[in-house]
Symmetry: C2
Subunit: 193 residues, 2 copies
């Protein structure tokens, strides 16, 4: 037990702890609910489902076996799987992983490329506004029908994190667009003289 595992395995165990799911459904849930702080690919999920099954931490669910000719394979968590999940929850949190290419480009840019950076920041602004709105819907939905998830309080705390991030993104975008515009007009004045 407790052999160091990749993170994908805990995503699977965590989700199966709530309900039986297929690999595809796991991918969908991660994309829909966790994508603002976590992502998984099929290339991680499917091999891991097999490994966890062979290790006895999850099992193919006989209850949800393919009715008629559905090819979907649903998995359920086992007791050892639950223990593994609980142990991981208690283990120290690993440092977050962050990569913002936009900041890398901004860092390496100069006054001359302010117009390009302006476009980049505008795109950043609108794409995150869209993402924020999508999650606000989810949040509103969650607040209406309480107790659908046993852990709805925890989910709300996670969503609050997202909310604060998007607010920070919005404020930074506004501020940075202003600064870049200043750069551009300053540049134009230079060439005019």
């Amino acid at each position: 037990m407790s052999s160091k595992k990749n993170k994908t395995s805990y995503v699977i165990l965590g989700l199966l702890n709530e309900e039986n799911l297929s690999g595809y459904e796991i991918k969908r849930i991660v994309d829909d609910r966790l994508s603002f702080f976590w992502n998984e690919s099929f290339g991680q999920i499917y091999p891991e489902l097999k490994r966890l099954t062979s290790e006895g931490l999850i099992a193919v669910s006989s209850a949800d076996r393919p009715v008629y000719s559905k090819q979907s394979i649903k998995y359920e968590i086992t007791e050892p799987g639950r223990l593994e999940l609980q142990e991981w929850l208690k283990s120290p949190v690993e440092k977050e992983l962050i990569r913002f290419e936009i900041l890398l480009k901004l860092y390496f840019s100069n006054a001359n490329s302010s117009d390009t950076m302006l476009e980049h920041v505008k795109e950043f602004q609108t794409s995150h506004l869209r993402q924020q709105q999508l999650f606000q819907q989810f949040e509103a939905q969650l607040k209406q029908n309480i107790d659908v998830h046993s852990n709805h309080r925890q989910i709300l705390m996670v969503l609050s994190f997202g909310q604060k991030m998007w607010e920070a993104y919005a404020a930074w975008s506004e501020e940075t667009l202003r600064l870049l515009e200043q750069n551009i007009t300053a540049q134009e004045d230079d060439t005019d003289e």
Copy 2:
């Protein structure tokens, strides 16, 4: 030219565009200045330095050749390298990469594990406060001696992003600690009855 490259190559080109550096120095600068939104490992940097050299985008600097017996190899950017960097700056920004294990744990936790989560959030709070303070020093330093970097305005915009993130982290930590404490006292009241 413009063959799709891994991001490490642009970090190298971007930094060498300012000054000649060795692999080790590149790693240090990334750790010291970019680490709050970007990271690189030696395992990425050294092979990439060789590849970029063989492609002619960078070159071993003869100017900074080892005086006496220093084994350090410094690299300089070439004209094709500068072009490659400029092209990348103009290319669309890729979506940021984010992985917060703490949010994953919180999402999969329940009321029973509030005490564990409380410890996790406390650790999160203090480690980011420390990081924020380190970068505030860098920012103050940068604001004093302007024009050491030609792109100091851009660097300040990047640092402002960090600042807003750390403020969001702090606010979320406070809020979440309060909520988790409520959970714990509610649990205790339950078991008392």
